[in-house]
Symmetry: C2
Subunit: 224 residues, 2 copies
DNA sequence: GCTTCAACTTGAACATGTTCAAATCAAATC
DNA sequence: GATTTGATTTGAACATGTTCAAGTTGAAGC
């Protein structure tokens, strides 16, 4: 249960080697099939040592999640600095998500469920994983703000969080996708990103003004 | 792993007593805090006996889930045979969900995550839990079909499944709701059910015709 | 060089989900 | 009533996440 940041060179190296072993094994065998003993073995430390640096197996998953996010953020950087069209930015970002995660597809199910568990410290809605979630939301804020789309401020305010939620939905679909090359997920991404951009522009219609206000204030209330 | 339906009176009674013990303990202590040994103890059977009737602890949760659904279906029956207004039917049905589940609120998190786990046999998107999901979807089909709302057939086709998904979302929100009397969830239900009904009528607008077709055909494609 | 002390490491021990071979039971058959 | 046979029951054994008290290490202060 102790949250011990390494205080010595030796400690830092131990933590790093344990983490690397865990990332490798999660990717090779998945979450459940990776035992804490196997992680300790591959890292060349004792079982107890792992618990000195990571309070639980779930906390190691959080690091896995963070690692994936960093890969993703790096992958979309060129696109986000070049492209200005919102639909293209969003589509590219979503495609990059599933391309980045593709090596972990077989094991993603168990990892996703760990993260979605409301009673887990890893749940992004509140707890240890909150800072990481905020980073991902910030990425989507950049997707929006760096585009040349003119978006009403009330919508722009809620959009990043909504897109993060949307990404979660896409990932959940992708986990179940057994199609070759994950083509179905790619199609769904193309279609939904287009729809989202279209919906944003439709939201300016006078008939929709009322519902739009209600939806947005509801969302704001939900976020607290 | 064996799926053994009881073949004798004795077997039937054993299965029933184990199930009852499990339901009680889940409600009293939650999923994780309930051990298989505790279930066997309270049921007055040995540990191994439980595994003769239920392949795993998760399968006992499925029964818990089914039990809750039956309580809910019973609770909304009067409303559904009396009320004809769609918004009122939907609102009442959703309110009944969280009222029915209220006794399990403290333990709902761990149960929900078990069900949402894509690699679990309990996942409603495909596996053992599929029949139960179909029952819940059928309930929402009745909510729609028993109303006096005139709904275009392409929408009506996808609506029950969508409402089931919506119910899942509300439950997820409810799990995190710490407000007294779960008032916030009730407010969200009132607001969202209204919005849904409004959206259904808006979908007939000529401007929305295109998006509507695209959304519906996308949903149909996702369901397979 | 010696002492001290916090950081680090270790492996045994525990709790719990699951498996399984053996024992027990009870109904059908003779 | 004895035998057979399949259903049921049992508890020991195993795997694995987690805890913890005890041991080891190494640098700072003397």
């Amino acid at each position: 249960m102790a949250i011990a940041l390494p205080k010595t060179k030796r400690g830092e190296s131990s933590r790093a080697v344990i983490l690397q072993a865990a990332l490798d094994l999660f990717q090779e065998r998945g979450y459940e099939a990776t035992t804490m003993r196997a992680i300790a073995d591959r890292a060349g430390v004792s079982l107890g040592s792992s618990y000195h640096y990571f309070p639980s197996k779930e906390h190691l998953v959080l690091e896995f999640y963070r690692h994936t996010h960093e890969l993703h953020a790096e992958a979309v950087r060129p696109l986000l600095s070049r492209e200005r069209d919102l639909a293209a930015r969003l589509r590219g970002t979503m495609r990059a998500v599933i391309i980045t995660c593709e090596p972990f597809h077989a094991v993603a199910g168990s990892i996703f469920s760990t993260v979605a568990n409301p009673s887990s410290p890893l749940n992004p809605f509140g707890g240890t994983a909150r800072p990481l979630r905020d980073e991902v939301v910030a990425l989507y804020a950049e997707v929006v703000s760096g585009s040349d789309a003119r978006i009403a401020s009330d919508i722009a305010e809620m959009l990043p969080l909504t897109l993060w939620l949307y990404q979660m939905g896409i990932l959940y679909f992708w986990i179940f996708d057994r199609s070759p090359g994950r083509l179905r997920t790619l199609e769904v991404i193309d279609e939904t990103t287009d729809l989202i951009v279209r919906l944003i522009s439709l939201a300016n219609l006078p008939v929709l003004r009322g519902s739009r206000k209600r939806v947005l204030s509801l969302m704001k209330a939900i976020v607290e």
